[in-house]
């Protein structure tokens, strides 16, 4: 009986040593993801009175200045693992796509917040840029993306 228990423990220990950290990473990632999505939703509400447009003109009014918003984002472990499986067969990788989408929303919200502080009612000529920061073989498993949103703040005529 004891022999069986000892054998089972010996077998379980290395297994636990691998699975527990992996599971922790995934859970931490998922929690951060939830927090971020909630934060973005709240901040979007606060700048909901601003129009985000990518046309260069909006009737009479005044252009204030350039506003920018940026974010450096690492897709979380759960998304990365899902993506790794997806890569075996190819096709659209929704896990990463959704992560990049929320990161871009955060960048946009930051640009809008900057405009809101200037008393603007719209951001015109909005442009988006993205860039992968850590390239190279060693970093392939840990993508790090920078997203920028920039445009020009616009205030309506007084």
């Amino acid at each position: 009986m004891e022999v069986v228990v000892v054998l089972a423990l010996l077998l379980a220990c290395p297994l636990l040593a691998i699975t527990v950290p992996l599971l922790t990473i995934v859970l931490v990632g998922l929690r951060r993801r939830k927090q971020l999505d909630r934060e973005i939703a709240a901040r979007e509400q606060r700048v909901a009175h601003l129009l985000a447009l990518n046309i260069p003109e909006l009737g009479p009014g005044r252009l204030v200045t350039l506003v920018t918003g940026s974010v450096v984002y690492a897709p979380d472990a759960a998304a990365r693992n899902a993506h790794r499986w997806r890569r075996l067969f190819g096709g659209s990788s929704q896990s990463i796509q959704l992560r990049v989408e929320s990161a871009r929303r955060l960048a946009t919200v930051r640009a809008l917040e900057e405009a809101s502080q200037l008393g603007a009612r719209a951001v015109l000529n909005l442009r988006f840029q993205s860039c992968q920061l850590n390239q190279g073989r060693r970093n392939r498993q840990l993508p790090l993306i920078e997203l920028i949103a920039y445009g020009t703040a616009w205030v309506p005529p007084a």
Binding site: I25, R62, L66, A74, Q135
Partner: protein, 106 residues
């Protein structure tokens, strides 16, 4: 200095085009912050350290562009574009460019 990423400015007239102005910065990752951010990137999420680093770097790049425009005697930079690229592993280049002009209220 007035900055905009539109080509024209409603209500103002471009009286003189002074040429292309640009500014760039190359930032390497900070060793201390890098280790922290490295750990954080395993879990995933936003890396505030890097966001801050690159935002500061972008301000520098824009500042250089503005300094160039001032030297040319411009009062505005129009059609500003911003780009980032990773020039080597562990370093990012931030680049801002635009057209220096003299704007006059119409």
């Amino acid at each position: 200095m007035f900055l905009t990423n539109t080509e024209t400015v409603p209500g103002a007239r471009v009286t003189r085009v002074l040429g292309l102005v640009q500014g760039n910065t190359v930032r390497a990752k900070h060793i201390g912050k890098d280790i922290l951010a490295g750990f954080k990137s395993i879990g995933g999420g936003e890396l505030h350290e890097y966001t801050q680093l690159l935002t500061e770097a972008r301000h520098d790049a824009i500042g250089r562009m503005v300094a160039q425009a001032q030297q040319l005697g411009a009062n505005a930079v129009v059609n500003v574009r911003l780009t980032t690229s990773s020039v080597s592993s562990g370093a990012a280049e931030l680049y801002a460019y635009g057209t220096a002009v003299v704007l006059e209220q119409a």
